[in-house]
């Protein structure tokens, strides 16, 4: 290499090579390394964020799939019935009226509503008399397998000499606060009070 009618000295050559390497390094740093690093960091941050979001979405999906499966199971097995939203008392009283229409006599005594979290319990005592055992059995079956969730607790039955059946039962209608509208009759949440 000859410029200005003479060769570069070794020191000059080394210096030029060093400068060239520095220039290449700078260019690499500016135009390759920094953008690539920034892009990778940005992608990784986005990946982390998306992964967190995806984990949450997948967990929710898994939960909802479990919920769906349980609903399907409950539907196929009959379950315990549908809980109406609070306040469903009108529907329940109408239902009782329909169920007990054929009895010889009946008496219903509602206790105070009990709230535990979203669960509302409407306890009542039911007494009725029917002409025979089959009719009493039919009434209780309709009560238990009706549209509104109703569970019967203790019960007692006596059959008199004429075959008339008197049945006393404690029962509960279940409602939920999901979709319900609080009113003056809604008691305080006993679960919250215990916490």
């Amino acid at each position: 290499m000859k410029i200005m009618s003479r060769n570069f000295t070794t020191a000059e050559k080394i210096l030029i090579v060093a400068l060239a390497l520095i220039l290449v390094g700078l260019a690499y740093y500016n135009f390759v390394d920094t953008p690539v690093r920034q892009s990778i960091a940005s992608s990784e941050a986005e990946t982390d964020m998306l992964q967190t979001e995806l984990d949450a979405a997948q967990a929710r999906l898994s939960y909802l799939q479990g919920v769906q499966k349980n609903i399907d199971d409950l539907k196929s097995q009959g379950g315990l019935g549908w809980m109406g939203s609070y306040n469903n008392s009108n529907v329940e009283v109408k239902f009782l009226n329909d169920v007990l229409a054929d009895t010889l006599k009946y008496s219903i005594n509602f206790a105070n509503v009990v709230r535990t979290g979203d669960q509302i319990r409407r306890n009542f005592t039911l007494q009725f008399t029917t002409r025979d055992y089959a009719e009493a059995q039919s009434i209780l079956t309709r009560l238990l397998e009706g549209e509104n969730r109703c569970l019967v607790g203790d019960m007692s039955c006596s059959i008199d000499g004429s075959g008339q059946v008197s049945l006393t039962a404690t029962a509960t209608f279940y409602e939920t606060m999901v979709g319900g509208t609080p009113d003056a009759g809604l008691p305080a949440d006993s679960a919250a009070a215990n916490r």
Binding site: V36, S43, L54, I71, W82, E145, G153, G179
Partner: protein, 291 residues
Amino acid sequence: MAAVKKTAAAKGKRPPKKGLHTRMPTKRSINLVLIDENRISPLKAIPAILIIIILAAAFSKFMVADRLLEMSRAQGEADRIKTTLQQTQEALENYEGIEDTYAHMTTTGMTEEELGRVNRVSILELVSSILPQGDYTRAWSVSGNILTVEITGRTLEYLNELSRRIEKSPIVDTCAISTAVKNEQVQHAPNAVAQTLVDALDSSRRQVENGLEDFVLSSMINTLQPVVSERIQARLTIYLVKPPEDAADQSAEAPQEGAPTEPRAPQRPVKGALAPAADEAATQPEEVSAP
């Protein structure tokens, strides 16, 4: 040049004739600088070029291409997760409103006692199956998962056999005779049985041909007469249990919701053990325990 001409004239040489011009090379300057021998030997150049190419290739591969590949991979991973997330969110849209539906069907808020109760319809069916077995069932009651049936039977042995049959029901864990009494009051029970039969027949009187009802009545009373002389008033205590499939159904709960534990049946005695005698029956005469 002037010095050269002068030297030629001085030596007597004629000057060149006019018009005759001999072209002589003239060189007015002399480059005394030596031309460099700057040829690069191929033996040195080729390896050097090869080394430079290898270095450049290595640099391009490891410092540029691989980094770009790494960047592309990172972006691809982000895109992949983004696509999966979109698919998951689309799938989630299909389950919209399902939680509200489940809230109306769930058994989450119910107590173990409520979930552990034996289906009352099954109890009614069980009692219904007992009624014709006993000669005279006066009353029954259910408290928790314990069914108590007041029954009148011919003999204690007969009632014991009845309790063994009851135990075959899937909702019965064990059945025991808690009290068994034979007394004056019981002796009158057949009359009540007969009266019940008469009442039953009376209601269907119009459907029975004339004459036949009397025959049926007398036949029944005659049949019952030898039996009523030995009557045992007993109380059967039946410990109910939830069938395994029912218990499994009730315990099905959604994940993450703190599903309730599987319902447990209340404590009950070992199968075949005697049931505790009821307080009110303890005063009856000739009270015997089940064998």
